[in-house]
């Protein structure tokens, strides 16, 4: 266990960055167990055989859509994903090949599709592999029929790092203010503002209002349900805070000269990594056909963040609007509430360093 010198949070030995505040942890703690993925040399070879075995197993039986090894739903589990063998699609290229039944090319054993003609190799071996069985998810049920007196039982359930439920915080029928100044489970969270958020009920629905807090209130979005991004929208995947910015450009000069630059392929905006109040790190423009974000697959990768799923979310545009969609990540995609938002029953809410589930 490494105790962060900045925020005193306990971190596992192999973490490079503090789970709580993102500060870099002392390096010697990395020695015993490396977290990095494509480890040249030894680890790679020890990984390969099981990955291949897993691949052939997957070919014979049901293909899995969800390839994420992280098993615990909607919590902030240990970033075990990195330590696990790579999913078959990402395993190192198999040395053993077999001919494609369609074009005859020698295809590595762990490929599902021929890399030359694109033929689906699954279709040969297992004619009916069965439908993919997506992992069961906690989706927010409709809240239209909230029972009478729901407000009496309304509470925020703390989800602990290991996925189990912790303390509950009751929400009254009126307005309930939450923050470092309100004590209890919130008092020790340095990432909560003294007055952070306010919960209230409106027509039997829970509403959260961000009290202009420093770090905001984040709500987990439903998988496969696109939500619109606006200029300045902030969202969170794994430990990463990302900001979406609509396209903007400086005014060209009065003499009719245009700014020169790289081809502008109709970018619909860009996403930037938030690394300070007004500082961003790496950024990527979003082409009209969209981008995928993930730890190992996609256009924008987070190879060092074990809380990001292999393939996590997607941003795309439709009819002039830009949307963010969680594509079935294990830990979810959270969107920062701009002023106010409904909180449907069962929704996960992230405030400060703590994750809650709203129950009512």
């Amino acid at each position: 266990m490494i105790v962060c010198s900045r925020c005193s949070k306990d971190n596992q030995d192999h973490y490079k960055f503090c789970l709580g505040c993102g500060a870099e942890l002392p390096r010697q703690s990395l020695e015993p167990r490396s977290l990095s993925t494509p480890n040249p040399g030894g680890e790679r070879t020890t990984n390969a055989p099981p990955a291949r075995a897993a691949a052939s197993g997957a070919l014979a039986s049901a293909p899995q859509i969800e390839i994420d090894p992280a098993p615990i739903e909607a919590t902030r589990p240990e970033p075990i994903a990195m330590a696990d063998p790579l999913p078959p699609e990402l395993a190192p290229l198999s040395d053993e090949t077999s001919p494609c039944s369609h074009c005859g090319a020698q295809v590595p054993e762990n490929f599902r599709f021929c890399h030359v003609c694109g033929h689906d190799l699954d279709a040969d071996g297992a004619p009916d592999g069965g439908a993919a069985v997506p992992e069961e998810r906690v989706s927010a049920p409709a809240v239209a029929e909230a029972p009478e007196g729901a407000t009496q039982r309304a509470r925020l359930v703390l989800i602990q790092p290991d996925g189990s439920e912790g303390d509950s915080f009751p929400l009254g029928a009126g307005r309930t203010l939450i923050g470092r100044s309100t004590g209890g489970i919130f008092a020790s969270d340095a990432y909560l503002s003294p007055e952070h958020a306010e919960f209230r009920f409106e027509d039997n629905q829970l509403v959260v209002k961000d009290m202009e807090s420093l770090n905001g209130v984040y709500i987990r979005i439903d998988p496969e349900f696109p939500i619109e991004l606006f200029d300045g929208s902030v969202f969170r995947v794994g430990q990463e805070i990302l900001r979406f910015d609509a396209p903007s450009a400086p005014d060209p000069g009065a003499d009719g000269t245009q700014y020169a630059g790289s081809p502008h392929r109709g970018f619909v905006g860009r996403i930037s990594l938030v690394i300070g109040r007004d500082a961003t790190g790496n950024s990527y423009p979003i082409p009209p056909h969209g981008i995928h974000l993930g730890r190992e697959r996609g256009d924008v990768l987070f190879p060092e963040d074990g809380y990001v799923s292999g393939l996590h979310c997607r941003i795309h545009s439709e009819v002039g609007h830009v949307f963010l969609t969680d594509v079935g990540s294990s830990n979810g995609t959270f969107v920062r509430v701009s002023n106010e938002s409904f909180v449907p029953q069962g929704t996960f809410v992230l405030m400060g360093q703590q994750l809650f589930r709203a129950e009512y």
Partner: protein, 262 residues
């Protein structure tokens, strides 16, 4: 029937091998022109000591292959320029650059243009924060790492930011129209640009080499290095720059080659 292979003496019609000053048969003098036979460049016959610009790539209205003899002392290039006009390229300012002689030397001076003048790198060049450079069709700027602004508030609330890694500098892609594109913060000490396997990749840009160029920090200083790319790396000049034979320049979308015959 065949042609005599050497200079033929005008006195006695004997063959005189090259390098001889007098005819070996009759002693007749060989004229000076015939003694110093050096192959000369065509341009030199017309304008010895002067330079010319050749538009290697430009839009059709300009006519690729057009060449400008620089016989005056100053030659202004720009969208509205009289001497070297590029009327259809709106990446050029009305008065964009000036090609002038400083003594024997040809120099180019950026006349405060919006988009600047870019010269092809020979190998590598020092580069500074704020400088622009081009690879393939892409334009980049070298930026400083912003100051850490993630300290706690006066009320002791800590700012939650994404995990940060130390970075010495960053490279920002500039899109046409002026919007920023990709931003890549340097890890280790370099940012490499290319078609694949680099820090900034453009897999579909046919003008880029697989590994095209990199910005590298050694100690406190930054260097832009062209990795033997096919189409070269161009760096924006600051103010004025001396030109030599074979230099390539980008003025807006126009690529011009410099020929100096002195």
């Amino acid at each position: 029937m065949e042609q005599a292979r050497n200079y033929v003496c005008t006195e006695c019609a004997s063959a005189v091998p090259s390098g001889h000053k007098f005819c070996g048969a009759c002693g007749g003098p060989v004229p000076a022109e015939a003694q110093t036979l050096e192959t000369q460049f065509f341009g030199a016959l017309q304008m010895p000591g002067k330079a010319r610009l050749i538009v290697v790539r430009g839009d059709e209205a300009m006519g690729e292959g057009l060449s400008y003899l620089l016989q005056a002392t100053e030659h202004v290039a720009g969208r509205d320029a009289d001497q070297i006009p590029f009327p259809s390229d709106n990446w050029l300012s009305p008065t964009h650059a000036n090609f002038l002689y400083r003594g024997e030397k040809l120099v180019v001076r950026d006349e405060g243009s919006l988009n600047g003048v870019y010269i092809r790198l020979r190998g590598s060049s020092p580069i500074q924060i704020g400088d622009h450079f081009m690879c393939g069709q892409h334009l980049f700027r070298v930026d400083a790492t912003p100051k850490d602004s993630s300290g706690p508030e006066p009320d002791q609330t800590y700012f939650y930011s994404s995990p940060r890694r130390p970075s010495a500098f960053r490279v920002t892609q500039v899109l046409e129209g002026g919007m920023d594109g990709i931003v890549c913060c340097a890890l280790e000490q370099t940012v490499e640009i290319g078609r694949e396997d680099c820090d900034i990749n453009f897999p579909d840009d046919v003008y880029l080499s697989p590994r095209h160029a990199k910005v590298e920090m050694t100690g406190e200083s930054l260097k832009l290095i062209d990795e033997n790319s096919q189409n070269g790396t161009y760096v924006r000049i600051r103010g004025e720059r001396e030109l030599g034979h074979g230099d390539y320049l980008f003025l807006g979308r126009n690529l011009v080659r410099v020929e100096v015959t002195a």
